[in-house]
Amino acid sequence: MAAILEKKYLSSNVVEMVLEAPHIAATRRAGQFVVLMTDEKGERIPLTIVDSDTRKGTVTIIYQVVGKTTTCLADMNPGDRLYSLLGPLGRPTEIKNFGTAVCVGGGVGIGVVYPIARALKETGNRVISIIGARTRDILILEEAMSKTSDRLVVATDDGSYGVKGFVSQVLQDLIDSGEEINHVFAVGPVPMMRVICEVTRPHEIETVVSLNPIMVDATGMCGACRVSVGNATKLACVDGPEFDGHQVDFDLLTNRLRMYYREEKESMEDFRCRCDGK
C-alpha cells in the first residue's frame, strides 16, 4: 500500500502530503484526483492530485482537516502506509490556449486550481490568478501560484493580507477594468464558485468549476456524486469533476453535501472520545 513520503503543514489545518504512487504519477493529468482510505475501517475520500513527479513516482495531495478521515490522515507520518490509494480518477482538465485565463482559488481550493494554472501556463496562456482565504494565516500556495501566473492577486476576507474582500469582487473589478478574459477556472467552497459564476455569466465568459460532491467508489458505479448540469444528471467522478459552472445546480450540490452532516459529527465525536480515552 502507498507510503507517505513527506508531510508538511501549509497552515494550521491544511496539510500537504507526498505519496508513493508510481503508476498514478505516470499517467496523471491536471484536474484528476485520487481516492484514499487511511485504514480498513475508514471512509473512501476523494482528493485532487496537486502535483506529481514521474521520475520519483510520487503524487502530492493537499487537504484541509475537517472531519474524521482528514484528522486521521493528518495524524499519519512519513513512513506510514495508507490502506488504499486509487487513481488517477476523473476526466483531466481540458487544457488549451484560451488566450487569457483567470484561475480563481478559494481556501483549500487553491490546491486544486494550482495544477490547472500550471498546465494553462505551460500551454501558452496568459494566466491571471486570484486566490483568497478567510485570513492571512490560512492562505496557502502563494509562492507556487505566483510562479505559475503572469499576475497574482491575493484577497483575504478580513483584509489581513492583500485585498480586503472576496475573490469574486476581485474578479468583478478585473472585468470592470476592461481586462479581456477568455476563460475562468474557479475552485473553492460552493458559495464562492456560485458567486464567481454569477460574476462571469452576464459577460458570457466560459467558467469551469471543479465539484466536490460526496463519493463512494468514484469509478462510476454508485451514483453518490450525481450533480445536475444543464438539467441533466451527471456523475462527478466519471463525467467530471469539472463542469460548465453556468449550468451547475449549486442548490442541489449544497443539499447533497449536507446529507451526512449528523453522521459526520457523530463520527468525529466518537473519534474524539476514543482518542481521549487513549
Partner: protein
C-alpha cells in the same frame, strides 16, 4: 427398484434458519446450513442417474452425482475437491445460485416430488472444507510462461483466474475497489453471503497462484493496450455491469434517494451497518421504498429493515408473478415483514425544505400485452396517482455497462446498450487476444452465469495463448 422407493421416502431436508423476528435486527446469515445428519439424509435421496440431467443444468458442469456420492460416504473434503475441479467458488454458489431454475429444476425426483437439495449439499461440503481448514491445493502444472491479465475480481474474473492458474498460466487480476470479490463483496449482503466466506474463496485462488492487484481501474490511467505492452498475452474483461440506472423522473437527486449500488456498497463493502465503528455512514430510513422486483431489491429492502426501517416496501410495476427475484428471497423478505406494492410505479419525488425526500408520487399500473421479455407490459392507469410517504428510497431497477473500458480500448465493439460484443462459446471479442464474459457481455444476470461464461473463456484463452507459440 425397491431400493429407490425406500430412498424417495426420505423427505427433502429443510435447512434451519435464523428466527425471522431475531434476524430482522442483525446481519448474521439467515440460512444456517445443514447439519451432518441432514446432509447425509439429503444425499441419500440422490438416485445417481446414469445420465444425470442435473449436471446439464449447471453452467460450470459440476459433477453433482459424484460429489453427492462422496457425501454419502462421509468423504466431505473429497466431495469439496470434486466440486472444485470445475467450480472455484463452491461456498458462494451453494448460497447464491438459483438452483431451482438450474440443476434442481432438472432433477428427476422433482418430477413427482421435491428435487435433491443440491445447492444446500454444495454449501455443506464447501463450509465443511473451510471450517476444517483442510483446503487442499491441486497440483499445478509447470508454468507455460504465458501471462493473462484479468480485469475485474468478480465472479467471472475469479473463476477464470482459477481455471487458468490450474492450467499453468500466470494470471494477474486487476480490481478497481480496495477488496476483491466484485458483487460478492459490495453487493450481496452479509446475511445472505458472509464476507469471510468470500474472503476464504479468494484466499484459495491466491494460494493456487493467482495474483490480485486491488485499487487498479483499467481504462483510467492504465489501459487494455498498456496491459499488452506490459507483456500480457491475453486480456479478459469481467468488469460487470457496474453503472447504476435511474428512472430520470423529477426529484430523483433529492437526498435520501440511493441507487442500489450505492446503498449496498455503503452497507456491505464499507460496512456502514457498523457505523460509527466503521467510518462510512448510510441513511437509516424509517419509511423506506425500494423500487424493483429482483434479488438486488430484496437485498436492499432487507438491509433497510435491519438498519431500523419501521416500514420497508417493495414498489414494483408488475405483479408478484413477474418478479425476477428468487422465491426464496421473496419468502425471506415477507417473513421479515417487508411489504409489497405491486402494479405501482413512481412518477415524481417530493422533497422537504432541506432537499431530503419525503414523498413519492406513484401511479397505478395494469398489465397489457406481453413485451420483448415475454412478460406482460405494465401500463399506467390514468388519474390513479397517489403519494407514498418515505424518507428513503433505493432505486434497484437494474444496472448498465460502465463505458470506461470500451471508451479507452480502440477496436472493441459494443452493442447498442454499451455491452461488449463477445462470442457466446469462447468470449472472443472484436479485438484479438481480448476476451470478455459475465454481466459486461450479457447485462445484469447471475453470479453463476458469469462463472459459466468465464469457464468457456478460460478454455478459449488457454487455446489462444498456447497457439501464440
Amino acid at each position: 427398484m425397491e431400493n429407490n422407493k425406500k430412498r424417495e421416502k426420505v423427505p427433502r431436508q429443510i435447512m434451519p434458519e435464523q428466527d425471522p423476528a431475531a434476524r430482522g435486527t442483525n446481519f448474521d446469515e439467515v440460512p444456517l446450513g445443514y447439519t451432518e445428519e441432514q446432509a447425509l439424509a439429503e444425499a441419500s435421496r440422490c438416485l445417481h442417474c446414469k445420465k444425470p440431467l442435473c449436471v446439464s443444468g449447471c453452467p460450470v458442469e459440476v459433477d453433482i452425482p459424484g460429489f453427492i456420492k462422496l457425501v454419502s460416504e462421509r468423504e466431505y473434503a473429497s466431495a469439496a475437491r470434486r466440486i472444485k475441479e470445475t467450480n472455484n467458488l463452491p461456498a458462494v454458489c451453494g448460497r447464491v445460485c438459483p438452483q431451482e431454475s438450474q440443476c434442481e429444476e432438472l432433477c428427476v425426483l422433482g418430477k413427482k416430488g421435491e428435487p435433491v437439495a443440491i445447492g444446500r449439499l454444495e454449501r455443506f461440503v464447501a463450509d465443511y472444507e473451510q471450517s476444517t481448514g483442510d483446503v487442499s491445493i491441486p497440483a499445478i502444472p509447470t508454468s507455460t510462461g504465458k501471462r493473462i491479465a484479468v480485469v475485474g475480481a468478480g465472479p467471472a474474473g475469479l473463476t477464470l483466474a482459477g481455471d487458468l492458474v490450474k492450467l499453468g498460466h500466470g494470471v494477474t487480476v486487476f480490481e478497481g475497489l480496495h477488496k476483491p470479490g466484485g458483487v460478492l463483496i459490495y453487493g450481496i449482503p452479509e446475511f445472505r453471503l458472509p464476507k469471510d466466506i468470500v474472503e476464504a474463496e479468494v484466499e484459495y485462488l491466491v494460494r493456487l497462484g493467482a495474483e490480485i492487484r486491488t485499487d487498479m481501474v483499467i481504462g483510467r490511467g492504465k489501459t487494455v493496450d498498456d496491459l499488452f505492452a506490459e507483456g500480457y498475452d491475453a486480456v479478459f474483461l469481467g468488469v460487470g455491469a457496474g453503472a447504476p440506472v435511474f428512472m430520470d423522473i423529477p426529484g430523483e437527486n433529492l437526498s435520501g434517494i440511493y441507487s442500489a449500488n450505492e446503498y449496498l456498497t455503503r452497507s456491505n463493502l464499507m460496512k456502514a451497518y457498523r457505523f460509527p465503528e466503521f467510518d462510512t455512514p448510510v441513511a437509516r430510513g424509517k419509511r423506506v421504498a425500494v423500487l424493483g422486483g429482483g434479488n438486488v431489491s430484496m437485498d436492499s429492502v432487507r438491509t433497510a429493515l435491519r438498519l431500523g426501517a419501521k416500514q420497508a416496501t417493495i414498489v414494483y410495476r408488475r405483479t408478484e408473478a413477474e418478479m425476477p427475484a428468487r422465491r426464496e428471497e421473496v419468502h425471506h423478505a415477507i417473513e421479515e415483514g417487508v411489504q409489497f406494492q405491486f402494479l405501482t410505479n413512481p412518477v415524481e419525488y417530493i422533497g422537504n425544505e432541506r432537499g431530503w425526500v419525503r414523498g413519492m408520487k406513484c401511479i397505478r399500473m395494469e398489465l397489457g400485452e406481453p413485451d420483448d421479455s415475454g412478460r406482460r407490459r405494465p401500463i399506467p392507469i390514468k388519474d390513479s396517482e397517489f403519494i407514498i410517504e418515505v424518507d428513503m428510497v433505493v432505486v434497484a431497477i437494474g444496472t448498465t455497462a460502465n463505458p470506461v473500458i470500451p471508451a479507452t480500448t480502440p477496436g472493441l465493439e459494443t452493442n447498442r446498450w454499451g455491452y461488449i460484443t463477445a462470442q457466446e462459446e469462447t468470449g472472443e471479442t472484436s479485438r484479438t487476444g481480448v476476451f470478455a464474459g459475465g454481466d459486461i457481455v450479457t447485462g445484469s444476470a447471475t453470479v453463476i452465469l458469469a462463472m459459466g461464461a468465464a469457464k468457456k473463456a478460460a478454455r478459449a484463452i488457454d487455446e489462444y495463448v498456447r497457439g501464440l507459440g
